[in-house]
Symmetry: C2
Subunit: 455 residues, 2 copies
Amino acid sequence: MEQVLGYLAEHRQQRLSRLNELLRFESIANRKTPDGCRPCAEWLARTMTAMGLDAEVLDTDGQPCVLARSGQDPDRPTLLVYTHYDVQPPDPLGPWQSPPFEPTIRDGYLYARGASDDKGQLFTHLLAIEAYLQTLGHLPVNVKLLVEGEEEIGSPNIENFFRDHADRLQADALCISDVGFFAESVPSITTGLRGLCYFELTVSGPNRDVHSGLEGGLLANPVNGLATLIASLHDQTGRVTIPGFYDAVRPVSDELVAEWTALPFEADAHAAQLGVATLAGGETDLPPLVRNWARPTLDCNGIVGGYIEPGSKTIIPAEASAKISMRLVADQDPHAIAESFKAYVAEHTPAGLSSEVTVNALGRPVLLPDDTPPMQAARAAMADSFGRDPVMIRNGASIPITEVFQRVLGLDGVIMGITLPDDNLHSPNERVKLDQLWRGAEMAARFYANLAGGP
Amino acid sequence: MEQVLGYLAEHRQQRLSRLNELLRFESIANRKTPDGCRPCAEWLARTMTAMGLDAEVLDTDGQPCVLARSGQDPDRPTLLVYTHYDVQPPDPLGPWQSPPFEPTIRDGYLYARGASDDKGQLFTHLLAIEAYLQTLGHLPVNVKLLVEGEEEIGSPNIENFFRDHADRLQADALCISDVGFFAESVPSITTGLRGLCYFELTVSGPNRDVHSGLEGGLLANPVNGLATLIASLHDQTGRVTIPGFYDAVRPVSDELVAEWTALPFEADAHAAQLGVATLAGGETDLPPLVRNWARPTLDCNGIVGGYIEPGSKTIIPAEASAKISMRLVADQDPHAIAESFKAYVAEHTPAGLSSEVTVNALGRPVLLPDDTPPMQAARAAMADSFGRDPVMIRNGASIPITEVFQRVLGLDGVIMGITLPDDNLHSPNERVKLDQLWRGAEMAARFYANLAGGP
């Protein structure tokens, strides 16, 4: 292990250029650009092959996956590591201090779209694998690296991919590297993730934009109607009003609430950092971490309708639409929630307007047991690499694939990563702290060894 | 008069090319394009000068006005004719069957942005004036033509323009040519126009777009908050909830309601023509024409916030904004309504969010007496030109300048025009019926004569 850690320490700077190459790909799953997803996947397969892995690009009905492996020793356990190479769109571009696809180091951080979500985390595993291969010539476990290309759009093709390649994905343990620390210097392992329903809701009125004076008072207005529908989805206390929405929500014990409340979460500082007066989202009669980790939420991610250029245009628009997503918690069923939402919208669409709901993505929530052998191996690796025992937390975000791993491959994952809360995931100026990258690589190396009972 | 009408009949086709030149200018008041407002104004002044008028372009703090006159005989009454050369933006472009700034004739209609609102109406006066000058050598009245360049954005500079040029705008009668018929074959004179308040409302949350999973349940969402604000502006019956909003609204007599109800307005046909199931706008317990003519309304003209490209992005957006306009009726004061709206928004902005209201335009409502001498001259001219006595109607739209004429110049206008209800004002495929244009020119010629007591 010392040889491996030594190798890692010596090769940091020279490996950064490889990460920078990876970060330059504009691998946005729903855009087809010349330096987009497929070129990124092909670059990954080439790079991993050059490192000594067996790597290939595997097609799906959407963006391809990359699958690589090192070692096929039947006497060693096999670890499946999941990451993704696709990234969120960089919009809005204005606030970026350096171009989103031109990696730039400032003050110990590497800035780029995907730096922490999730190319940087993939990079920690590549560093650890290379260190083993260059020093010991093999890894203590057989490793399979699965790198997806559609995580940020809800992994629409991953379930079929799992079914098609179930044999090649067989493993004894699973590590999902797409999360992070609860706070800086608070290493964390994630046991809960929220599910996701993502909809587009379009409200239509007249068959064309019409004059708001000539028709005002006659025609129902699609923007006003959409606003009314959206507003009606929450009551005064921040609870979602869709019938049955909370029926399957698993209650949180008082003990767990106390544990979470003891974590270093400063609501006022969090609000100040984001520039708001108070944390007023969700069910405001509950503690913030309960709202974010153990309660479902409903948010509009975007809305558009009518005249949106500068100046005035006096119309009643023909239509307006909103992107509406919900974060679900165990044991809510996204399919049942989608049906309830559609029924609600149909029933509450104002007179004189019509509405249509399309489903962009559905993903189940996940709650993992925290005492399995892979979990113990991860805890020890994290403690040794970061100098503190990790805390067991949940995450308000969604990694839909976690639930698919459980259901299709029978694999419960260890979910851990090195992202810090102020890394601006999904936002302008996404970044990763370089020190987290280097320690993350050490953690990966130790985790492989712990899984095998030593290197 | 027969000579004049004869001239008009003989020169129709050859004059169309002049209207087409006018329609090709993309004279949108809030856009600066090479073929925009100022070039259009200069073209108008040149063209009118060539016709024999004294014409010039007069600057304002925004787009210029064109002022032209023919005749200064102190023994003749002076008529001031108001039209505007600016047009609504052509968006959305998709539905246009021919380009909005390339005039095209189909089935007896001339299609172009501004064909009816308001370049076509200006054209009827130019035809009439030219016919007099080419036949009798002079007009029966002194005519002043004022052609504005910012009507479609609320005439922000016209009041100062009136004050600066009050002496040059003195007149004995006023004709505002920016409206139309109640229905085809139902010639109409307009005695009431609604006022306008136009606002932009922006709701802000976090200082950047943030991850809707990591922050969902913590942060209040600006799109949801904006929707809640907008929804709260109406109650279940369609009444606006801003305190005091209806206090100054002049009631409508039962007699007037009966008169309006007798007009050929088919609610079902109107709904069907616009592709909606029912006319559900405004206070639905009142008859449609009462809602459109004598009651104020509130409509969102546009809304935008967050991610609006195809596909999914899971964010809580930093901000969202809406364009919100109100149509006012006598005797609502737009300044007082603006203050009430601002106070309402400030009071009802959801916790964790901030809001800002900016005022784009304010215009007072207008109600005119229907028995003045110019009104009698107009009624007779319209009856003779279209073969039916005109009906006295109101209009749900706004011509803010009407109120400014009253207040600053002491002129009550005759408001009449030749637009038909299906001319797609402010919409794609705006058009004017050619037969209305020709009869409109005859009406203008007769109106001038009637005002003078004969040609």
